[in-house]
Amino acid sequence: MSKKIVVFGEVRDGELRNVSFEAVAAAKLVSEGGEIVAAVFGDGSLEKAAQELIYYGADRVVTVQNETLKTYTSEGYAQAALAVIEDEDPEGIVMGHTAAGKDLTPKLASKLDSGLISDVTSIEVAGGNVVFTRPIYSGKAFEKKIVTDGLIFATVRPNNIAPLERDESRTGEITAKEVEIKDIRTVIKEVLRKSTEGVDLSEAKVVIAGGRGVKSKEGFEPLQELADALGGAVGASRGACDADYCDYSLQIGQTGKVVTPDLYIACGISGAIQHLAGMSNSKVIVAINKDPEANIFNVADYGIVGDLFDVVPKLTEEIKKLKVNA
């Protein structure tokens, strides 16, 4: 049965995040042939972002441009989102499971008295139901969930549902909507950019993670160089964070982030069960560790037994050579 689905896209630094295109693809699956209406919010021009959403599969796009929407706030974005939902009266809503998605969607679901299936990694239609698969216990297990009453509302984890092919021949209506945004009770004073090279850990295709074996803050430098060479992001185990070698925002594991990149390179990480929970669903895992008995080798596709300070710079060199020759 075809359904109309609203997708909330996310613009960061003027660009749509890749997960927004993945959300459109997810919405296509949920819609079973129904209309996909994407919405984007911001303070600047949203025309380009709207056009991209159409190229990636949205049938129509609603933009809400307002100076209060410059930076994400739950109250500002919720007012814009609810105005769109009221206009469109959709049967489903999809958004990326990002910082903004995690913050906004529960508020919307609560307001709409609906369910919300968050952090979805795959979607199928079976037995007349849209079935959502999502990790639980940080990926130690998975569950399949359905909506039994009301809106089909879901957030999708970055890097799991492939976006549709970009098609510039696609056309669709782009409508600018005016929304009056008021009564904001939280005021953002400042945003300190700490993330490296603009590659976000949860969306990165390649993650280079360091553990206690990295030994110091400076020890992360060769990992960052390898990450830069591969266009990836640096992550860490709890051990490295607890030892103050890096910020907690880099922590991967049962407490910390759960990542599912195409390539995960674990450097000097022993592989405690809590860490494995956060990364073992990565597509390809490489372990570099001095200790041949380290548990990380049990989940690694490829392992090198050796000193990361010897192996990692050599790996970076080889990758650079490859990129030059390519």
Binding site: G115, V147, T148, L192, Y248, G256, L263, Y302, L315
Partner: protein
């Protein structure tokens, strides 16, 4: 300050997950306070010590959760509330949980409600924002620093690695992220005192709710384990050759670079 903390009892992070009869086997598993909720409890205690007032820790579950509530009391919380749904609620989701919490908070006065930013079992991260919406108070998720100054909270939050500094007005709900504080271990005197601290038990009836009011909107139809990851190939030879081989494997065999 009147401070409430939302707490969940979860599997210990060390536990392996076993599925029997289509459900996650809880028999024999160790349970703990959800690690993110520990940050919330610690922060609540510190704020109370600084500003005065009372910390009440609330959980929904069965009698088994009394143990985690006592631990929270031993850390320094003043009161605990168990909303026991064992007999009334068979299936639940985040809608259910928040419906119950909304009813609980209906006649309460609160300046601050703290919760973990996510529970490590179901990991929905929905409860805090959903409850704030129902109580019509602002919320800030994934906080890493909190200072209260009169009716204003000065907050730092983690946004995918960036730090956002913001101000919010009380009453407020916040969800706690790693890095906020170092949760204390209960002290022996703390454990002794906790035995005498009030632990109130409520059921749906006490909140003027019945089973129909808390009927979930979603349902889990299957639980399964991911395919076991097999140990792969440990390379051999000189490190330089291993590195070359690895790059070749990543490029040609697994095609990820």
């Amino acid at each position: 300050m009147n401070i409430y903390v939302l707490m969940k009892r979860t599997f210990d992070t060390e536990e392996k997950i076993v599925i029997s009869n289509g459900r996650i086997e809880e028999e024999g598993a160790e349970f703990i306070i959800n690690p993110y909720d520990e940050y919330a409890i610690e922060e609540a205690i510190q704020l109370r010590d600084e500003h005065g007032g009372e910390v009440t820790v609330v959980t929904i579950g069965s009698e088994d959760a009394e143990k985690q509530l006592r631990t929270a009391l031993a850390m320094g919380a003043d009161k605990a509330v168990l909303i026991n749904t064992e007999d009334d609620v068979e299936e639940s989701d985040q809608f259910t949980t928040v419906k119950i919490l909304e009813a609980f908070f209906d006649d309460k006065e609160y300046d601050l409600i703290l919760a973990g930013n996510v529970a490590i079992d179901q990991a929905s991260g929905q409860i805090g924002p959903r409850l704030a919406e129902k109580l019509n108070i602002p919320y800030v998720t994934t906080i890493t620093n909190l200072k209260i100054d009169g009716d204003t909270a000065h907050i730092e939050r983690d946004v995918e690695g960036d730090v956002e500094k913001l101000d919010a007005s009380l009453p407020l709900l916040v969800t706690c992220q790693q890095g906020l504080n170092e949760p204390r271990y209960p002290s022996l005197p703390g454990i002794m005192k906790a035995k005498k601290k009030p632990l109130e038990e409520l059921e749906l009836d006490d909140l003027d709710l019945d089973e129909d009011d808390v009927e979930p909107k979603t349902k889990t139809i299957e639980v399964f384990l991911p395919p076991a990851k097999e140990a792969g190939k440990v390379l051999e030879g000189e490190i330089d050759d291993q590195v070359k081989e690895l790059v070749s494997l990543l490029r040609n065999e697994s095609k990820v670079i």
